[in-house]
Structures are given as structure tokens and as C-alpha cells.
């Protein structure tokens, strides 16, 4: 059985500014899967999650979770799902025990479950500490504990490692794997492609509210098998990136904080790329061919890098 099925889901927010957040989204998540939803900020990841869990009503389309229609059987669906968000705030003055007890009462589970989820996420020692004082890594463990409180069949994880340091993110990824081993289906949104590749059996790429591709990492990469990637170390000026985008054979340009990736048709594109770099006055530290990655798949399908919107947000 499929854990989540979204059919032709569309959602437009109308207000001072009309935003088409989702357009004709189809998504199927098999039971027991970790399914990634990969896209830049503003692509529609969070909106899609809120539609799937019934917090937002779609304008069009249907959603089923564990075989139940979310529009008509929301109350039953809500007992079987839970949510972990990477940038949730937290109520001040509440201890771990008090907040988890509140959620245990909301889901009608015994207090013994609070002890279990604290043990599973390694926060037992912080039982009487106020969650608002936790570091982001420990806070995220708290939210995962909260997400597990009702033994959900489907757990929606919205950027659970965003803003975490390397160790904390690794610990969270280990917990996600363990949850999945215990039979929990997980929908994981992220804009970290390595995380998606590492954790997810299948990955849907979303851009501007549309699912542009869906499959395993290998299947997605297969779509650009014949293409190559050129990696240029350092930050390139926007004008130079535009110049590179116009070079014949360049299929897409994406800048992240450390390097600029070019998706190119073949090896022969290297010469005109180098010429454009030199003509543009770039100080080149290193240029090399790279294996095509999910970033390149995304780039090819959307003409936009995963990190670009993030970069704009950071600015």
C-alpha cells in the first residue's frame, strides 16, 4: 500500500500578491520509504507538506494518507501522522518533560511513551531543562521526540537538519534512519542534495511549485548521463555567470558558496568556458570535470541551482 498519494494538487495563495505555490503536483510515497523532496527555498516544499497533512486545503486535487482521504477523514489521518520542522520556534518556560507530556495528552498516549521517545532521541538527561535554552541540535532532537510521540505511520520532516552543525546533522540523520528501520514512512524535505542522496530511496525534485522529476538518485542521474559537469572553485560575479550561461554547450550555471557548477553538453565545452572565464577577468583557482550530481539534474530541469535561492535568502 502507498503511504501518501497526492493527485493533481494545486494551491494558489491570493492576497496582496498572488502566489501559485503548487501546480498539478502528483506524488506517491510507498509504505516504509524515505522519500526526499528536494528544492530551493520558495519552491513549494513546505506548502506541499501542509497540504499533505491537512493544514492547508488545496484548491484542486486529492490527497490520501494511509488510504484515507485527507479532505474527508482528516481527524483519523491526524492520529497517524506527525511533523518535524527544522526552524520551529519553541514555547518558553516549558521543560522537555512538560512539553512532551502536553503532546502525549493531545495524542492520547501514556506518559511512558514520553520516557521512550526521550530515550530514543538521547534527551533523557534534559528532562527538566527548558527546551527554549537548547542548542539547535538538541532542540531538533526534542522535535524529533515530539514527532515520534504518537508512533506515526508517516512522519513529515521539513528541513530537519537546517542550520545544524555537522555533528548535530549527522546525529539527526542517524535518528531518521533508525525511525525508518522501525517502519515509519518519512517524507523529508531538504535543499541539501547530499542529505537527500544519503537518506532517501526516492527523491522528488520540486521547483516553482511543480514536481519536475521523481525517482531514485541513480534514475535521476541517468537523465543526464550524456552530460558533464565543470566545477570552478570560488565565487563568480553574476555578470560572469551570465556570460558563461551564453557559451554554446553550457546547459546551466549554479553558484554555491564555494564553487560554481556548469552543466555542459560534453568535454569539448571546456575550451570556450575557459576562454569566457579569462575574457571575463576571472581569477581562476581550479577548474575540473566532475561527476553529474543531483544538483546537475536539478539544474538541467529548472535552469536554476538548488543553492541560489538560499544564497539570496542569506544575503
Amino acid at each position: 500500500m502507498n503511504a501518501v498519494v497526492a493527485n493533481n494538487v494545486s494551491k494558489t495563495f491570493r492576497g496582496k500578491r498572488t502566489v501559485a505555490a503548487l501546480t498539478d503536483v502528483d506524488l506517491v510515497i510507498g509504505e516504509g520509504e524515505i522519500h526526499g523532496l528536494l528544492g530551493p527555498n520558495g519552491a513549494g516544499k513546505t506548502t506541499l507538506i501542509t497540504v499533505l497533512i491537512g493544514l492547508t486545503t488545496p484548491d484542486r486535487g486529492t490527497v490520501q494518507v494511509c488510504g484515507l482521504d485527507v479532505a474527508t477523514r482528516l481527524h483519523q489521518v491526524q492520529r497517524m501522522v506527525n511533523l518535524v520542522r527544522g526552524f520551529s520556534g519553541v514555547l518558553e518556560k516549558f521543560t522537555t518533560w512538560e512539553l512532551l507530556s502536553y503532546y502525549a495528552l493531545l495524542y492520547g498516549v501514556p506518559r511512558s511513551r514520553v520516557r521512550e521517545v526521550m530515550a530514543l532521541t538521547g534527551i533523557t538527561a534534559l528532562r527538566d531543562a527548558q527546551v527554549a535554552h537548547f542548542s539547535s541540535g538538541w532542540r531538533q532532537r526534542f522535535f524529533i521526540a515530539k514527532g515520534m510521540i504518537n508512533r506515526p505511520k508517516v512522519l513529515f520532516m521539513d528541513e530537519p537538519t537546517v542550520g545544524l552543525d555537522v555533528d548535530a546533522a549527522m546525529a539527526v540523520r542517524d535518528i531518521i534512519r533508525e525511525l525508518n528501520r522501525q517502519g515509519c514512512t518519512i517524507l523529508l524535505t531538504t535543499h541539501y542534495m547530499r542529505e537527500a542522496e544519503e537518506l532517501c530511496g526516492r527523491i522528488a525534485l520540486i521547483a516553482q511549485g511543480r514536481i519536475v522529476a521523481d525517482g531514485s538518485a541513480a534514475e535521476l542521474k541517468q537523465r543526464i548521463k550524456s552530460e558533464e559537469a565543470i566545477l570552478i572553485a570560488g565565487q563568480l560575479e553574476p555578470a560572469l555567470r551570465e556570460r558563461l550561461a551564453r557559451v554554446p554547450g553550457v546547459l546551466g550555471v549554479a553558484q554555491d558558496p564555494r564553487s560554481c557548477r556548469l552543466l555542459v553538453r560534453d568535454h569539448g565545452t571546456m575550451d570556450p568556458v575557459l576562454r569566457a572565464l579569462l575574457d571575463g577577468g576571472a581569477r581562476i583557482e581550479a577548474v575540473r570535470f566532475d561527476e553529474p550530481s543531483l544538483e546537475d539534474v536539478f539544474l538541467k530541469l529548472t535552469q536554476k541551482g538548488l543553492a541560489e535561492d538560499q544564497e539570496q535568502d542569506d544575503e
Binding site: 494551491k11 493544514l55 520556534g89 503532546y103
Partner: protein
């Protein structure tokens, strides 16, 4: 576990949440100590300075307590919702199998406990300082119950406003019970108002609830059937409005605080 029992647990969850906030937050603690005392003492001392008629002091004591009852029964549930909204946790509550009326009933449990504290303060001080004694406990408790039911109906309305307006709803939610109390003749008869305002005031169940309290002092005619009819009318409107507001908020994506 039956649905009734699960619902009962969710109602208790909300009461638990509100009471922890009250215990930890000085501002919330003032809600049952300092602020009501300011209202109580300013009004009773004002009345006592001009008259020694114990009915007038009694009107102030019962009116102030009735006003606080309406305030707490209206405020508790909405405050809980707003706290979760402001702290960015509202989606974690709203994806649970919670129903809107469970917020209201959870708030009512917390309101009962807070009103017990305020009631002891007001009636105790009223007796010791102003020699006020409740003449008929049955009729007075009926008046307080009427105020509590009115507070619950206002809470339902306010919940709808909170679903729709989120953070912007708070000014309205704070002002709403006070405006209604003033319009309902908390310390005076509604006949002091000009015609149209008086007509409006008479459609409010709160006016009838205050009349039940005033009647225990011989200062108004109790009209229980009228109270029941106006309360039922307001309840129906409140339930319809909040049901619509929740559906609208779901449609507009307002049950989530986005990044």
C-alpha cells in the same frame, strides 16, 4: 481508548498547558493577582468614598467578579492558541487530532481554577474591608455561571478571529470582553445608554447575566428565559462563525506559521 476519552485527554492537555504558563510567567500570575486587585480596589474604594449603601458596594464586588469571570472564560483558550502561534509551534498543535472546541473546554478548566483564586480575593476583601456579604449563594452562583457561559461564547468568537487574523487578532481579543462588559451595564443599568445602544445591549446575554447578579441585591429584575434565548442565539452565531473561520484559515494556509 474511546473517542470521548481521547477528547477528554486533549481538553486536559490544554488546561495543563495554560496552568504551566501561569505558574512560570509572572505576567500571567498577575492575571489572577495584581490586575484584578487593581480593578477591585479602585472600584470599591471609589464607590465607598461616595456612599455607605452596601448594595452599591455589593454591586461593585459582584460586577467586578462577574467581569473577571467573563474575561477568563473568554481569554484562556485563545491565549493558549496565540502563545503557540507566536512561538512558532502552532502547526505542531494543529496537526494533532485536536478540535477547536477542545481548546475552549480546556480553557474553561483553567478559568475555573483562576476564578476560584480571584473569587476568594474579591469576596474575602469585600467582606473584611467593605462588610459585604452574599445574601443568596444559590442566586449568586447562578449569576456567576451565567457570566461563565457568556465568557465561553465570547471565547468561541475570539477563537474564530484568532484563526483568521493570527497575530493581529490579539488587540481585538483583549478588548472584546471589556467592551462587552461595559456595554452590558456591569456596574449600572443599561437604561443609561441612548436608545440604539440600549437596544443592542439588551440583545447581549452578558446584560442578562449581570442582571442576575444585580437581582441578588435587589437592583434588577432577573430574566432567566431571556438570558437563555440570547445566549443560545449568540452560541449559534459563534459556532457558525468559528467553523467558517477555521475552514477559511485552512484554505488560506493560516494554521501554519511559515518561516
Amino acid at each position: 481508548m474511546s473517542e470521548l476519552s481521547l477528547s477528554g485527554r486533549r481538553i486536559l492537555a490544554h488546561a495543563y498547558h495554560i496552568l504551566i504558563s501561569a505558574k512560570r510567567d509572572v505576567f500571567r500570575l498577575f492575571d489572577v493577582t495584581l490586575w484584578p486587585l487593581v480593578l477591585f480596589l479602585s472600584m470599591t474604594l471609589f464607590a465607598g468614598a461616595f456612599t455607605h449603601d452596601t448594595r452599591v458596594t455589593g454591586l461593585v464586588v459582584l460586577g467586578a467578579l462577574g467581569w473577571r469571570i467573563i474575561y477568563h472564560f473568554q481569554m484562556e483558550a485563545v491565549q493558549l492558541y496565540m502563545d503557540n502561534y507566536w512561538m512558532g509551534m502552532i502547526e505542531h498543535v494543529m496537526i494533532s487530532p485536536v478540535r477547536w472546541w477542545e481548546f475552549i473546554l480546556g480553557g474553561a478548566i483553567s478559568a475555573v481554577l483562576k476564578i476560584c483564586v480571584i473569587g476568594v480575593l474579591f469576596l474575602g476583601l469585600g467582606h473584611v474591608v467593605f462588610h459585604f456579604t452574599v445574601t443568596s449563594w444559590g442566586a449568586t452562583l447562578l449569576g456567576f455561571l451565567a457570566c461563565a457561559l457568556c465568557g465561553l461564547v465570547l471565547s468561541i468568537f475570539s477563537m474564530g478571529v484568532a484563526f483568521l487574523k493570527r497575530g493581529d487578532a490579539f488587540a481585538f481579543i483583549y478588548a472584546f470582553p471589556d467592551a462587552i462588559a461595559v456595554l452590558s451595564g456591569v456596574f449600572y443599568p443599561v437604561t443609561v445608554f441612548p436608545g440604539p445602544v440600549r437596544l443592542l445591549a439588551e440583545t447581549l446575554p452578558t446584560t442578562q447575566a449581570f442582571n442576575l447578579l444585580k437581582a441578588t441585591l435587589g437592583l434588577a429584575q432577573p430574566d432567566l428565559p431571556r438570558f437563555c434565548v440570547t445566549l443560545a442565539g449568540w452560541l449559534a452565531l459563534a459556532v457558525l462563525f468559528t467553523g467558517w473561520a477555521l475552514a477559511r484559515a485552512r484554505r488560506d494556509g493560516k494554521l501554519v506559521k511559515m518561516k
